[in-house]
Symmetry: C2
Subunit: 123 residues, 2 copies
Amino acid sequence: MYTIGQAAQKVGFSIGAIRFYERKGLLEPAARSEQNNRLYTDSEINWLVFIKCLRETGMRVEDIKQFANMVMAGTATLPERIKIIQDQKQKLLDDIEGKKSQLVQLERKLERYYNDLVCVGTG
Amino acid sequence: MYTIGQAAQKVGFSIGAIRFYERKGLLEPAARSEQNNRLYTDSEINWLVFIKCLRETGMRVEDIKQFANMVMAGTATLPERIKIIQDQKQKLLDDIEGKKSQLVQLERKLERYYNDLVCVGTG
DNA sequence: TTACTATGCTACACTTAGTGTAGGTCAACC
DNA sequence: GGTTGACCTACACTAAGTGTAGCATAGTAA
């Protein structure tokens, strides 16, 4: 059994984040010690790793919650899960395109500055 | 003189966003009509366009506020302004790299799914 | 015994960049 | 006279946590 601090260190979350995930329903409420401190089993640590894994792909907490429920529900939900991951991938691709376009705008602005032409006068 | 609705349409902000920017100090409090409605001059429209221009590069509102102050202060602040834009550019590049790395993680996960190997068992 | 430090607890406020909603005012139109 | 439509203010809400206040408890040092 691990304390929340140990769990946090093991998984790479902050303590606050773990409590946050519990509050959000991503985790079952943790067992408590006599001192009312949260205790985590190896299985719960694995679950946290799983959450970390999804979170690092940029998936939103609410979506992870849905996803977790599907995993619980078994392999029947596999096609649906694959779709979610694919959607997430598309979202990332779109984000990257958006950023790239922002970058182009910025380049243009930078160029304008180098030419000493400010976007708008000083009023 | 334009109403807030006209200004919003002209510039491409929502009405709420314009009020928000005023509240945040990006805009001087607008003049008011007899009916207490905000009124915008062409110069203020230009200022809004300028804000839009920076916002579209992903610059944060607080930073735009600083930037606006510098523009007001004249060409002496030009080098500093160029630096801000360059920093912003670097931030965008970093963001893009981050997203790309998320994408790689996702690809890996997707592959794992296609191989019918789920990241974590069903507990 | 007392003090200090570390760790944990809860509950609340704060962040970003707005959006959405409730409730009110006003002018124009039918 | 009633009803849009555009505007006003103030407040709550969003995502994903972080930071803080105030508390309890355990272990260690003087």
